[in-house]
């Protein structure tokens, strides 16, 4: 029995590959010639990241000795603790740049929201473990699920971290879909995001998207009432974005969105980051400018280049080859995790896998999308690559739990 257990070294190698690329990029972004323009505490980021990786390795190993059932058993408690700490953070956290996101615990500055993502994944997985086959007629389970995810998202928004909250919200359609929500309904609940995205770019594109989704919903299940609802909701979303952009958003938020749609309108102002990020990546070409040779990076044209814009550093200094490697590492990791989820028999483990995969995936899409101007700049880190101790630890913990669950998949199944 025991010899049938398999530890996924493949995943470990991809993980090592990603954080190694991250270390190289962080080194260039903080220790290169650019360091003369950076405050001292930023220059220490590289060393701190190494320490956090070391801690994370220890955590990853020790997690492998934990009983898989412990993760399920302790999930609500963990969720509650993290949620309370997150609320505490809103009031007594360390204030940096207009938001309180860090909490000082035993001398460590922790970003609770990162752990809250893990806690939410575990809690949702636990809640949904025995409630499969969701349907449109049984919306109570779905509503509770939404609530479990929505509450931490709201707390994170109160920390002024919209990007992370958005990533968390991605869990809603994914776990509901995995738990058996009908396809048409699943598409319906993600439709506002898709229609909204196109509405920002152009109101006509928004309308076309709304129409396509309505047609798709009809074709999937032939539910007339849902199709009708989706058309109505689609129109409301298009109009809502139109009105919201003009009247509800704060000027700086509106500027950010306008900068995304047309950065050259205000190249020195709101469009600055978008243009500089695109320029950095584009000017990298095929091979890149070389390690610590990127002019955009080293001359401080990129904001937050050790976290949110780390992909630009890689793109500029290592070119298309470098950024493709990062994409490939991520793709292989996520697809492997997905395959592991499919091979797992236990619904809790499957849900944890799916949650973790899509947390990573959302981070990846939003981060790279921001850096390449496909999405408005939302400021989320690239998992395992960006500088950030809490994020790295939390992301590693998610991976460690997945590895544990997979390693113990047979014994775990017995206690189903």
């Amino acid at each position: 029995m025991h010899d049938k257990r398999e530890f996924s070294w493949y995943v470990i190698f991809l993980w090592i590959g990603l954080f190694s690329v991250g270390l190289v990029a962080i080194y260039s972004a903080t220790q290169g010639p650019v360091s003369q323009f950076l405050p001292a505490h930023i220059q220490g980021n590289f060393t701190r990241q190494v320490i956090w990786i070391a801690i994370s390795i220890v955590v990853l190993i020790s997690f492998q000795f934990v009983s898989p059932r412990a993760f399920q058993g302790l999930s609500y408690l963990f969720y509650a603790v993290c949620l309370i700490l997150a609320v505490v953070t809103v009031f007594v956290g360390i204030e940096v740049g207009g938001g309180r996101r860090w909490l000082n615990i035993f001398g460590f500055r922790l970003q609770i929201s990162e752990f809250l993502k893990l806690a939410t994944v575990l809690a949702v997985a636990n809640y949904l473990t025995h409630r499969r086959n969701l349907s449109a007629n049984n919306l109570k389970t779905a509503l509770v699920t939404v609530l479990i995810i929505l509450v931490p998202a709201v707390v994170i928004i109160m920390q002024n971290d919209t990007g992370t909250a958005l990533v968390l919200l991605v869990l809603i359609p994914v776990v509901l879909f995995w738990s058996g929500l009908p396809y048409d309904l699943s598409l319906f609940i993600v439709s506002p995001a898709i229609i909204g995205y196109f509405s920002i770019i152009d109101i006509k594109l928004g309308l076309i998207a709304a129409l396509f989704i309505a047609v798709a919903i009809f074709l999937l299940q032939k539910q007339v009432w849902l199709t009708t609802t989706s058309i109505v909701v689609g129109l409301v979303v298009v109009l809502g974005f139109e009105v919201g952009l003009q009247h509800i958003l704060q000027p700086h938020q509106r500027a950010r969105i306008e900068a995304f749609v047309n950065p050259s309108l205000d190249p020195q102002g709101a469009g600055w980051n978008v243009l500089q990020a695109k320029t950095a990546i584009g000017s990298g070409g095929l091979q890149g400018k070389g390690f610590m040779e990127g002019t955009q990076t080293q001359l401080r044209f990129l904001p937050e280049q050790w976290t949110d814009f780390i992909f630009c550093v890689i793109g500029e200094e290592f070119g298309f080859i470098g950024s493709s490697i990062v994409l490939l590492l991520f793709a292989l990791l996520l697809l492997r995790l997905l395959k592991m989820a499919a091979h797992h028999k236990h619904p809790f483990a499957q849900l944890v896998f799916i949650g973790v995969i899509f947390i990573y995936f959302a981070h990846f899409v939003v981060n790279v999308g921001s850096a390449t101007a496909l999405l408005p700049i939302m400021g989320v880190p690239l998992p395992f690559v960006s500088y950030g101790g809490s994020a790295f630890l939390a992301n590693t913990m998610m991976l460690a739990i997945c590895l544990n669950l997979y390693y113990n998949k047979r014994s775990f199944s017995i206690y189903r």
Partner: protein, 615 residues
Amino acid sequence: MAGRRNKDKVQVSFRVLQGIILVGFFIMFARIFHLQILDYETYSPLSMQNSLRMEVVNPARGLILDRHGTIIAENQPIYSITITPAKFRMENLSKLATFLQMDEQIVLNRIQLAQNYSWHRTSRLFTEVPFEVFSDIQENLWQLPGIGHQIESKRHYPAGVNASHVLGYLREASREDLLRFDHLRMGDRLGKSGLESVYDDYLRGESGTQYVRVNAFGQALDSYGTGDLNIEPTKGADLITTLDADLQALAETLMENKRGGLVAIDPQTGGILSMVSAPQYDLSKLAGRMDLDYWRSLNSDPNTPLYNRAISSRQPPGSTFKPFMGLVGLHIGLITPELQIYNPGAYYRGRAYRDLADPGNYDLERAIAKSSNTYFFWMMDRIASRGNLNTWASLISDFGMGPLNNIDLPFERTGIIPDSTYMNRTFGERRWSIGDLMSLGVGQGMVSVSPLQMAVAVSVLANGGYRVQPHLVSAVKEPNGDIKYVSPVLHKIDWLKPEYMETVNSGMKQALLEGGSRYFGYIPGIEIAGKTGTAQNPHGENHGWFIAFAPADDPQIAVAVLAENSGFGSVSATPIASLLIEQYLTGETTRPHIYDHVINFQPRIRTVVQTEEED
């Protein structure tokens, strides 16, 4: 059954999620391919522009040297603050004004000027700011996007030679200049008078460019790459002038607090040894950032200091005209060296023309030495009554009196040597008579010349009959070491015979030994040939003239001095010329009593009526 369906559903869900992830990665992959491979040509130059800034490097303006290689005009560093209006943020205005230690309104005015010139080109905001202000701004550039700094240079005059009217001043290019010349940028200076103006093309040099790496805050970091892209500025060419720095310095001192002009010239080449127009102005106050109060005072001064009297004034030459009258008379056969004319104390022709010389018989030599008027009235009477006025005018013009001499300075003016055309124009056709011409014979009336013209004319006497081309620059020294020499043209005046010249010159030598200029003119050991003159001035005190060359038998210097409103030339102009000749030939002045006389000499200037020369 249910389990099986469930398993199928998991498989489908798995495929859907796998599809979503694959599509997501494909989109991202396509995006980076688009940016990095397809649009590389767009973004690569963008990042270059971002991190590189092209800066104009101003060339060093050429130096101006005297004939011995002494530097009389050089460059001194000054510090400038520049602005690129498009990049400047108006909310930084008060911060900028604080750094500049200036009034906000003044700064705003300058910024608007720069905006009017160009939003995207870099203009000088303020030049010649104090070094502390400069370094203050340099350190805080990152707070002031669009603001830059620049080290430039201004003229400095190290040899104690001002030579205001010779060297001239530089001024910031005007709007018209900027439109006319493509090489100029706002704030560039160009020569507006004197040699700085005439030789601006040589002195200016060519500006270079350098590429510096800048960061996102616009701070310049270092030169880009190996500097292959940089174009070094080409230094301006140096001017080697014919001036003698020591002589010029003395001449300037002697002309202080006076009005008039003087020209000292090498009679063999036409090279100007010294040129002063008084009142002079202080070039150093016009170098760098212009002292506006000083500039206004220069422009409103009734003594018109900006006006170059040495080459532009028109005054009757008085008795200094007599040697030339003598030469013309000899040539047209009116007189011979031996001819004697009796002076009874006045010449009578319709009325009495007074003669201050002692009564008695005068030949040409004595008439020049003693400055008898009768002799020359007699000549002019015959020239006029025989209808030879135009011949006379043309012969006089051959000496360089009247026409332009084309010196390498701006604003030179012709004199007046009246011929029949001129008389007709002035008085009306046939409305003039001999009475209007008589006084021309003694250099009074309508005949008028500048000190430069007199210097050229006296050079003819000194060099044996050659009309020289007066010039200030003898060579242009290119930055690569090549020297281009200006070859002066000597033009032989064919009708001048050596024996005529001998008679006239010995009269001028006599003038210094026994004439009125003896006391102030005589230099022990140096024989001078000279002639004083006093131009009658209907508006005020008479103007004093003196022309001379020395040594008389081997002339190396010729001088013409005009001292306005100073009465007799022998008292006002002669001592100045004498001191200059002594200085040039011996390297020193040994007669402090004469020096003090000149320094303390008070001309009687009545400024109110002096408006006619300003046209």
